[in-house]
């Protein structure tokens, strides 16, 4: 009896033990095999991803002169938990910051995390860094992290290169590549070629213990990725020409854009007034940006691409070409001009010049009456379909020269100017409009708006006798065979190439013709410059001075547009500036130094500021 009882109890004891082991194994199975939650918790517990920042690509001009490079800057980081007693005064002296600021930064870092590093002071200079490095042992808990800052050896082409800055929240939200605190190109080439310049961030995966101390690489660096350095860019820009253009435009508002007609490469893109690109690099960026933004002269505004001006008389060659194409005028057509174009009470004034004049002379002397006739012929007689159709047809041809649309340059924030659609006038005149209503567009006034880039491009179309290449700023991307093919294709205008020669001849005579030709002051010995002046009426003040040109006449190497706000007649400032630019580019120096000095010294800003 006792024995069986004891045996039963033995089995009860064994049974309980087996039961508990089964329960435990079951629980372990669910923990270890079924449930994935713990594996995820484990890796977030222990892995620390440390970003490796790539070096941003360098930027060179077309002659491989360095335009933008990187200089190491150092962020002083702090891990609050590792801080020990240190001499605050000494640290503040080295960094040139106030004790209050230091305390505030430390509190901010602590509020973020006591274990994780926070930025204590951004972009410490190399000099401060050297001093700090010697004394670093006195400040446990602090360490430096290398970042790069953009540097500009020549301080030119601020609008072209643009600037980099920290990404904003919007970008971080929409693009998983960027993390808060990363740098991104915000404007200019830095923006449009951000992807090429930035490279690819790398990552080192470290294992950390519960106190966030790094204990070594994870899986022998299996998950590590090296940073890929950014690609270097070679721009089409000629830095010397750019710098010269900026000098000429000093104390003036406006723009110079020069293009190599055969390739569409932009040789210079000046927007005045400009600023020193270094102002927008590094720690003082925010402060300087605010200052530039509040400047009434709008130095941040890139006039070359974003200012939309009336083209004035520089628009006449396009109407001349379309007139020839439509057959409403030929090289022998003559119109007379009696100080203007008069229909009933309506008048468009003109200056004194020989009359009547023929097609080529009309360009040479820039006759308003001639183009009012040509333009009205185009609108009224190009076909019998009525003004709306004829206008639409005209507009299409104008757009084929790159006006009224974005040229699709490799640069951000390009504006398209304005060549209104027929419907605009239909609405404006409630369906009853005629060629006289919009005749001011014959001479580049009225509703037409263009950008300096478009004008330079138009100049290139004439230089090329009928086509343009999309203007672009990047010639070569390191490690890539070629730039985008779209920059290599000829874009023909809707005007037959045979019609260009008379226009070129007219533009040649603008500079080289006898007395009365509009830009004789743009003449440079031994250079066959073709040009066209423009004077845009400005209801707010002095007229704008405009000049488009290309040279040499045959086999052109440069096409240019110069726009000087409040510069009076086209010949006053724009024409000489264009001639200096062409001479500088083709000859290397400017021969008429007295004239050059006069232009360099001219200050148009005082007048401009008054209105």
């Amino acid at each position: 009896m006792a024995n069986t009882l004891k045996n039963t109890r033995t089995f009860v004891i064994i049974g309980i033990m087996v039961l508990i082991v089964i329960i435990y194994i079951g629980k372990l199975f669910s923990l270890q095999v079924v449930d994935n939650q713990y594996k995820t918790s484990a890796s977030s517990n222990v892995l620390r991803y440390v970003t490796q920042y790539p070096v941003r690509g360098l930027i060179y001009d077309r002659d491989k002169e360095l335009m933008v490079y990187n200089e190491a800057a150092y962020d002083l980081m702090v891990i609050p938990r590792q801080l020990e007693e240190f001499d605050t005064t000494e640290l503040c002296d080295i960094l040139d910051i106030s004790k209050e600021f230091a305390a505030e930064r430390l509190n901010k870092a602590k509020a973020y995390s006591v274990y994780k590093p926070s930025i204590f002071l951004k972009q410490v200079s190399a000099k401060t860094y050297a001093e700090l490095q010697e004394k670093m042992y006195k400040f446990p808990g602090f360490f430096t992290q290398t970042r790069t800052l953009r540097e500009y050896p020549a301080s030119v082409a601020a609008h072209v290169v643009g600037y980099v800055g920290e990404v904003n929240e919007q970008v971080v939200k929409n693009n998983s590549y960027y993390k808060s605190g990363d740098y991104i190109g915000i404007s200019g080439i830095e923006r449009s070629y951000e992807k090429e310049l930035r490279g690819e961030k790398g990552v080192n995966v470290y294992m950390v213990d519960v106190h966030n101390r790094i204990k070594g690489t994870y899986n022998d660096g299996e998950l590590d990725k090296d940073a890929v350095p950014g690609k270097n860019l070679t721009l089409t820009l000629d830095m010397e020409l750019q710098a010269y253009g900026e000098k000429l435009m000093h104390n003036k508002k406006g723009s110079i854009v020069a293009i190599e007609p055969a390739t569409g490469e932009i040789l210079c893109m000046v927007s005045a007034p400009s600023y020193d690109p270094a102002l927008l690099s590094g720690r003082p960026r925010t402060k300087n940006y605010r200052k530039l933004q509040n400047d009434t002269l709008k130095p941040l505004f890139n006039r070359a691409l974003q200012a939309q001006y009336p083209p004035g008389s520089t628009f006449k060659p396009i109407n001349a070409l379309i007139g020839l194409e439509e057959g409403v005028v030929n090289v022998n057509t003559e119109y007379s001009c009696n100080y203007g174009y008069h229909v009933g009470n309506f008048s468009v004034g003109c200056h004194g010049h020989p009359s009547p004049l023929d097609f080529i002379e009309s360009i040479q002397y820039s006759c308003n009456a001639y183009y009012c006739n040509v333009y009205r012929n185009i609108l009224d007689h190009a076909s019998d379909a009525g003004i709306s159709t004829n206008y639409t047809n005209w507009r299409k041809k104008v757009r084929s020269f790159g006006y009224g649309k974005k040229l699709d340059i490799d640069f951000p924030f390009e504006l398209k100017g304005s060549i209104p659609e027929a419907s605009y006038f239909e609405n404006l005149y409630k369906g009853a409009w005629n060629s006289l209503n919009i005749v001011s567009m014959a001479i580049g006034q009225g509703e037409i708006l263009v950008t300096p880039l478009q004008m330079a491009n138009f100049s290139a179309v004439i230089a090329n006798r009928g086509y343009y290449m999309i203007p672009h700023l990047v010639k070569e991307i390191q490690g890539e065979a070629d730039i985008e093919p779209k920059y290599k294709a000829k874009r023909y205008s809707d005007v037959d190439q045979k019609h260009f020669e008379p226009v070129v001849e007219g533009m040649y005579r603008v500079v080289h013709g006898d007395k009365g030709s509009t830009a004789r002051n743009a003449r440079v010995d031994s250079l066959e410059i073709c040009g066209k002046t423009g004077t845009a009426e400005n209801p707010h003040g002095e007229d704008h001075s405009i000049f488009i040109a290309f040279a040499p006449k045959d086999d052109p190497k440069i096409a240019i547009s110069v726009y000087v706000e409040n510069g009076s007649y086209g010949a006053t400032y724009a024409a000489p500036i264009a001639s200096f630019m062409i001479e500088k580019y083709l000859k290397g120096s400017v021969s008429r130094t007295w004239y050059e000095n006069y232009i360099l010294k001219a200050n148009l800003l005082d007048g401009a500021k008054k209105d």
Binding site: L5, I14, K27, Q32, V33, S41, A42
Partner: protein, 474 residues
């Protein structure tokens, strides 16, 4: 009596010895993995825990040899002196010991520390076996029960005074020995009832527990009395009295409903007591005793919980019972331990490739939480194998215990099984959230000389006795 010459080498249970060796080696490998760092990769580095543990292991082999050389009767003979010696040590450690982690349970000798509490289990097992194997021993004699209770409770109480609650709780495991030796199932059920009450009193409002006690008491009465009608009448009467008191209370007073139940129960008990005396039906006292005892127990649990237990022990129990959930506070250890074990997956991350245990996410990873390292580096396969090895050891020891001819060696064998079982179940259970976190080591695995030596001695004394089982012819 005829004595037979025995050959230890031949008669020792090699199966158990090999299991022991496997477990000790596995334990050492896991300690190595838990504290491994590349600067100290030599396994003999005595500044590191695995170096020291290796030293303890070598010393354990010395202890084993010593145990084997001694006569098997030595242990029964010296059980009481040894027990007394350990009790004195436990008192001494309270007076002169070193405090580690808020527990005053260590003697410091040179650079080593010894924990007498670890050996107290061993001594208690011997003393218990000696006492219960006495000729003509009857377990249900009150005097015997009280003596047994004293043998078990004295060291437990001293250890409790050292602030080492975990080690003190281990002594509850001797109930298994008593069960095996025929302690009435009524006592066992009472124990179970007490355990249920314990948990209920921590998790439920008082009046629910009181109602539960009344129902249990009534059920016991219903089962034991032949006159079932009387019991039903009694319950009915009780409810009537309660309803009356409840009515008076709501009209004139507003005492807590728990007090009403207790008042009714007391009044009813007095009535039953009078009845018992009048009718000389003393079994009623037993019923009343259960009821009132349970109520008293419930209150004392609350008192114990609120006033005796330390805050961290309270919150650990609360956490286990699901009353508190605070993964960064009391639950931190268990949560990190579950993450470590869970991250091991089916087959683990591989030896020395664990990340959770190595980088201090799991506290006490080489001592109390060594099972985490097993779970993380060897996965589900590793943890199952370890648990099954332990189960095999326990079952093997039960088989060995059952084949003993003397009751001393059988009882001692069961004591060994009980102690090992309690440690294994609580230690592994706490790492996976199935048992409260009380700091007791995993036998043969956890880092620590005292615990390894104590478990080694505990086990091999039994193996030594077992090897000589044929010396004694009955």
């Amino acid at each position: 009596m005829v004595q037979r010459k025995i050959n230890i080498y031949k008669d020792i249970d090699w199966f158990t010895v090999i299991l022991y060796l496997i477990l000790v080696i596995m334990g050492w490998l896991n300690i190595y993995a838990a504290v491994y760092n590349e600067e100290h990769s030599s396994i003999f580095d005595l500044t590191q825990r695995y170096g020291k543990q290796l030293l303890w292991i070598v010393a354990s082999i010395g202890i084993i040899i010593a145990i084997m050389l001694l006569d098997s009767k030595f242990y029964a003979f010296f059980a009481y002196p040894f027990y007394l010696f350990v009790i004195l040590l436990l008192i001494a450690v309270l007076l002169f010991g070193t405090e580690v982690n808020a527990s005053r349970s260590w003697f410091t000798i040179g650079s080593f520390r010894v924990q007498p509490g670890e050996f107290a289990k061993f001594a208690t097992a011997l003393a218990l076996a000696r006492f219960m194997s006495a000729f003509n021993f009857k377990i249900h004699k009150l005097k015997n029960l009280l003596s047994i209770a004293a043998i078990i409770i004295v060291p437990a109480a001293l250890i409790l005074l050292q602030n080492d609650t975990g080690s003190a709780l281990v002594y509850a495991t001797f109930i298994i020995v008593l069960f095996r030796e025929g302690l009435s199932s009524a006592v066992m059920l009472l124990g179970l009832f007490a355990a249920i009450l314990f948990i209920m009193s921590l998790t439920m409002p008082l009046h629910y527990i009181l109602i539960f006690i009344l129902i249990v008491t009534a059920s016991v009465a219903f089962i034991h009395f032949h006159d079932k009608k009387q019991v039903i009448k009694g319950v009915f009467f009780f409810l009537m009295v309660f309803a009356l008191i409840y009515l008076i209370n709501t009209l004139f007073f507003s005492y807590d409903i728990s007090w009403l139940i207790i008042a009714t129960a007391l009044a009813f008990s007095v009535l039953l007591g009078i009845r018992a005396l009048v009718y000389r039906y003393y079994y009623l006292f037993f019923i009343v005793g259960i009821g009132l005892g349970s109520i008293a127990f419930t209150y004392s649990v609350d008192y114990f919980f609120d006033n005796v237990l330390e805050k961290h022990q309270r919150s650990r129990i609360n956490h286990l019972l699901g009353i508190e959930s605070d993964p960064l506070g009391a639950g931190y250890n268990v949560n990190q331990s579950k993450i470590a074990i869970g991250s091991g997956g089916l087959s683990g991350k591989g030896f020395l490739r664990g990340t959770q245990t190595k980088y201090d996410f799991v506290p006490e990873q080489s001592t109390d939480f060594i099972f985490c390292t097993v779970g993380e580096e060897w996965g589900f396969l590793g943890t199952s194998v370890v648990l099954l090895l332990f189960l095999t050891l326990l079952v093997r020891l039960i088989i060995l215990a059952e084949r003993q001819r003397s009751s001393f060696s059988r009882i001692y064998g069961y004591a060994v099984v009980s102690i090992l079982f309690f440690h294994i179940a609580i230690n592994t259970g706490m790492t996976i959230g199935l048992a409260p976190v009380i700091g007791i080591p995993l036998p043969f695995f956890s880092y620590g000389g005292s615990s390894l030596w104590a478990f080694t001695a505990l086990l091999f004394v039994f193996l030594r006795i077992d090897a000589s089982r044929r010396e004694l012819l009955r």
